[in-house]
């Protein structure tokens, strides 16, 4: 290993960013091939039986499905490059708008539930690991298992009945109709737009609507973080470098913070990335429990309608998003852990 290794962070990041290009290309090709290999063609699958053969043929032509595969492939790649993800068949909307509106809702929910999961999960995991086998540890472990194992619609239902009802919190949708009506769509992500508008009642309304869905989904994923952080803390508090730091007389608080906790949190970054990518696909159960207009629910609708246009566009964007998240995770990892930047 050379001396320049610790200084090569920019080089590592550049390398990693350049790698994204072939990764996205491979993924796009896979999406294209998988959708073409599937038996039947999109048009007859979606509309067969409802239109006559001539009309179906017309549709196919309009979608370019009569072209040779290589042409279709080229069209697909170049349109993705122009950020044109096609239109949905069933309701004839640009896929980009679906992603923007419903994806924005999903993104807001995902981010908020991650805040819940991390704020609850990491400290609880740390306490459980630090005070292993204490009453607190046992209670936290039990809570972790319960929150992970409990069916989401059940938790959501309990929250609706026992929390929302007495407190008068909303249990459905992203905001009251009046808020949706008054807030100017700038980014089309309501959570951001409402803050841009600076309207205090509207902000309150949106956050109220966000609270319970975020809590439901956040508690579900926080179980993973509790257990992960706990196990890591158990390992790092026994680590050789922790004992060595104690032998140098470093104060207990600093040993715990700087040596044990910091090292324990490195693997958490990777898991955050994985979970985040998973949730971007939409948390269908949470969304339907709280009538949240997210991507998960929308995707289920399109799949039921056999809307290949929508499915292809949405999958394409997912794939790109997952690649970008893994890029982000790698960069954060490299920032935190110097051993990653080989």
């Amino acid at each position: 290993m050379t001396r320049s290794a610790s200084g090569s962070l920019p080089q590592y990041v550049l390398q990693r960013v350049l790698l994204v290009i072939p990764m996205i290309w491979v993924i796009l090709t896979l999406v294209f091939v998988v959708l073409r290999v599937a038996p039947g063609d999109p048009v007859s699958a979606a509309l067969g039986g409802r239109l006559n053969a001539e009309a179906l043929e017309q549709r196919r032509e309009a979608l370019g499905l009569n072209e040779p595969l290589i042409h279709q492939y080229w069209d697909y790649l170049s349109s993705v490059f122009r950020l044109d993800f096609g239109t949905t068949f069933s309701d004839n909307q640009p896929v980009l708008h679906v992603i923007r509106d419903n994806g924005g809702a999903t993104l807001s929910l995902t981010l908020a539930s991650f805040v819940v999961a991390l704020v609850v999960g990491i400290p609880l995991g740390m306490v459980a690991g630090r005070y292993r086998d204490s009453v607190g540890d046992v209670v936290i472990r039990l809570f972790g298992i319960l929150s992970y194992a409990a069916p989401i619609f059940f938790i959501g239902f309990l929250l609706q009945v026992y929390v929302a009802q007495p407190l008068g919190l909303p249990t459905s949708g992203m905001a009251s109709p009046i808020t949706v009506f008054t807030v100017q769509p700038v980014t089309h992500i309501l959570l951001i737009d409402v803050f841009l508008s600076g309207d205090a009642t509207a902000i309150g309304d949106v956050l109220e609507h966000l609270l319970l869905p975020a809590l439901t989904l956040g508690l579900l994923i926080c179980g993973v973080f509790i257990r992960l952080v706990r196990v890591n803390i158990l390992q790092t508090t026994q680590a050789d470098y922790v004992e060595a730091a104690e032998a140098r007389g470093i104060s207990r608080g600093r040993v715990t913070r700087k040596h044990a906790f910091r090292n324990a949190l490195v693997p958490v970054i990777t898991v955050i990335g994985l979970q985040f990518a998973l949730l971007l696909g939409g948390a269908v159960l949470t969304e339907s429990t709280f009538n949240w207009p997210g991507l998960g629910q929308k995707l289920v609708e399109y799949i039921n309608d056999r809307d290949y246009g929508a499915v292809q566009g949405i999958i394409t964007i997912f794939a790109v998003a997952v690649v970008l998240i893994s890029l982000l995770v790698d960069i954060v990892n490299a920032l935190v852990d110097p051993r990653v930047r080989y």
């Binding site: 290993m1 050379t2 001396r3 290794a5 610790s6 680590a239 050789d240 470098y241 004992e243 060595a244 730091a245 104690e246 032998a247 140098r248 007389g249 470093i250 104060s251 207990r252 600093r254 700087k258 040596h259 910091r262 090292n263 490195v266 935190v336 852990d337 110097p338 051993r339």
Partner: protein, 352 residues
């Protein structure tokens, strides 16, 4: 500044550290494991004491016990006087202040002893700042550079991360970290076991120079008699939680008085070794050690008295102490006690 005086000058005759009847035991479901059972020794300023013995004889536990780094569930007892203060009876806060500053430790596995997320510079800054919080930054760095230079590590590597160093370099970093605050007493727990022989020679050389460069007293824990011969002034031989013989290195290695020391030396491999010598049997169970001398079941010279009465600590002919009935005192041996002990046949299970 008082440190300088100590270094330059008049060596006081009183020991830096003085251990009396130190005991360490681990609680288990089978009962207490008496890992260290009544150990006493003195260490003079700048002196190196080698502590040798088989694996599991309690030598590492003794080193950790002195540092106060025992795992939870371990208990210690006895008296360890360091510069006039009893280390074992001081508060946790006092003990923390002493560790690193006055008592240092070097470990066996250099590869895992540095925090992988922290630069070498951060390790040094953290250590120095902990004990001298008001030291200016430039001074901190200068102190670190000084000790790194002694260890042969160029200052250009100061901002590197642990994974960018080889094993031997990391052990030198650990030594530098242990010495940067000039502790009066350092425990080195098998510092070369994880390293290859060339690096081992280098580290032994560095440890050998310590008393000249830093005037540090060293407790060098090892199972390698060769290192003791090379780097130590005195040696203590440990068996089953007790020091059975201690004295000047040349005396003990040249003229061992305890049968265990003799057998241990005989089993050392050298260039002239033609066959493997070993001591039959294995170290005793420390929950329920044998009565009398703990070595008697494996001792080729065991007498009747050895199986019934604890041996008494007597003066060695060449200076130092030894615990063996062969060396007396004769007036304590009961009638007929010097008859040879009939050893039970070692079963295969015992050997295993």
């Amino acid at each position: 500044m008082e440190l300088v005086d100590e270094v330059s000058g008049n060596r006081q005759p009183e020991p830096v550290i003085s251990a009396r009847d130190v005991r360490v035991w681990y609680g288990t479901t089978r009962g207490a494991i008496r890992a260290v059972d009544g150990v006493s020794f003195d260490l003079m300023p700048g002196e190196t004491l080698g502590l040798v013995g088989e694996s599991g004889c309690g030598k590492s536990t003794l080193g950790r016990g002195l540092m106060g780094l025992l795992p939870t569930g371990a208990k210690r007892d006895g008296e360890v006087v360091f510069k006039g203060r009893d280390v074992f009876s001081m508060s946790a806060k006092e003990a923390y202040a002493l560790r690193g500053h006055e008592l240092g430790m070097i470990f066996q596995e250099p590869l895992t002893r540095l925090n992988p997320l922290m630069r070498i510079s951060e390790h040094f800054e953290e250590t120095i700042r902990q004990h001298e919080p008001r030291l200016p930054r430039a001074e901190v760095q200068q102190r670190a550079f000084e000790v790194l230079r002694v260890m042969g590590i160029p200052p250009t590597r100061y901002r590197s991360y642990p994974h960018e160093f080889s094993g031997g370099m990391r052990q030198r970093l650990m030594i530098a970290l242990a010495l940067v605050l000039r502790p009066a007493f350092v425990v080195a727990d098998e510092p070369t076991t994880a390293l290859d022989v060339l690096v081992e020679a280098q580290i032994v050389g560095i440890l050998n120079d310590l008393r000249r460069t830093f005037d540090t007293s060293l407790l060098l824990i090892t199972h390698n008699v060769g290192i003791v011969a090379e780097a130590c002034d005195r040696v203590a031989v440990m068996y089953a939680g007790r020091i059975v013989e201690q004295g000047a290195v040349a005396d003990v290695l040249g003229n061992p008085q305890h049968p265990y020391t003799r057998e241990l030396l005989r089993s050392t491999i050298s260039l002239s070794t033609t066959g493997l010598e070993f001591i039959p049997g294995s170290p005793p169970d420390l929950v329920d050690p044998p009565a009398g001398c703990r070595f008697h079941p494996r001792c080729p010279d065991a007498m009747q008295v050895c199986a019934v009465k604890d041996p008494v600590d007597v003066e060695r002919p060449g200076g130092g102490r030894v615990e063996c009935w062969l060396r007396g005192p004769e007036d304590l041996v009961p009638e007929g006690g010097t008859r040879p002990l009939k050893q039970e046949e070692l079963t295969v299970a015992d050997e295993a």
